[in-house]
């Protein structure tokens, strides 16, 4: 597994833990009301579980197993994918902070960074989606 995939997958596992913790608190709070403030964790739960866990894991595994090129850069220009890693994780953090502190511009900025990250990942890996034996 390449180093960047290790970072993506480990980040996704951390987000899984955060998403499960928020989700567990939400469900337990539905059973026995601990605090109404816990409902404020819903956006964080969705962001951690969907973008942080599932989307990020998919990106890490894709970077690992998509067809490679022959030559010095088997996975193309990796800078795009590194940018994706940083951008997506920063974006998730901003969206979660908005959920906790009520500053909507953080969600706007966070979603923008998530979009930037996904676009960077697509650009960086676009040409790796190719038939077997195709050189480009």
């Amino acid at each position: 597994m390449p180093r960047l995939s290790v970072y993506f997958v480990r980040a996704s596992l951390i987000h899984l833990l955060l998403g499960f913790t928020a989700g567990g608190l939400l469900l337990a709070n539905k059973g026995i009301m601990i605090s109404p403030a816990i409902w404020g964790l819903l956006p964080a739960h969705i962001e951690f579980a969907f973008i942080g866990w599932m989307v990020q894991l998919t990106m890490g595994i894709a970077f690992w197993i998509l067809p490679r090129f022959s030559g010095d850069a088997p996975r193309g220009n990796q800078r795009w994918s590194w940018l994706a890693l940083v951008s997506i994780n920063t974006g998730i953090a901003l969206v979660v902070l908005d959920g906790l502190f009520g500053m909507p511009w953080l969600t706007f900025a966070g979603r923008g960074l998530e979009l930037l990250g996904l676009a960077a990942f697509a650009i960086g890996n676009w040409k790796r989606i190719k038939p077997i034996g195709f050189h480009s």
């Binding site: 997958v9 899984l16 989700g23 894991l57």
Partner: protein
């Protein structure tokens, strides 16, 4: 494919079918009058289907822990499977019941369900972390 992975994948497929059937049920008139059905539908898809599928494939395909124990502590994988499914089944049964008529039993079953599902995630991460490594 290891036995544990087969269990994860077959359970995931069962939840996919149940989720899609629940999705049909939700379209029926008055189905949404009970608050618990939509979250159950959503979590059967994202947790019972997608997350369980990922867990099963990860246990199979991730880099080996060691040549002697390629999948780490395999019993932890079984613990994950049992916790995840017990927690999710409790939720499927008791969340709609709680939505229709809250009771002491349904309240505590949701708390137990939440704890079991959370613990499933913790055990999976603990057992998988060291297998996420550079070649």
């Amino acid at each position: 494919m290891p036995t544990l992975t087969r269990w994860f994948l077959k359970a995931a497929l069962v939840y996919l079918i149940l989720a899609l059937a629940t999705g049909i049920f939700l379209v029926l008139p008055d189905a949404n009058s009970i608050a618990g059905y939509f979250p159950v539908y959503f979590h059967m898809l994202t947790f019972g289907w997608l997350t369980q599928l990922i867990f099963g494939i990860a246990l199979w395909m991730f880099p080996r822990y060691s040549s002697a124990r390629p999948r780490g502590a395999e019993w932890l994988g079984w613990v994950t499977f049992i916790l995840l499914n017990t927690g999710l089944i409790l939720r499927i049964v008791f969340e709609p019941l709680h939505g229709a008529a809250p009771s002491h039993l349904s309240s505590w079953m949701l708390v137990i369900s939440a704890f079991l599902q959370w613990l499933a995630g913790v055990v999976f991460v603990a057992n998988t972390w060291k297998r996420v490594k550079e070649k």
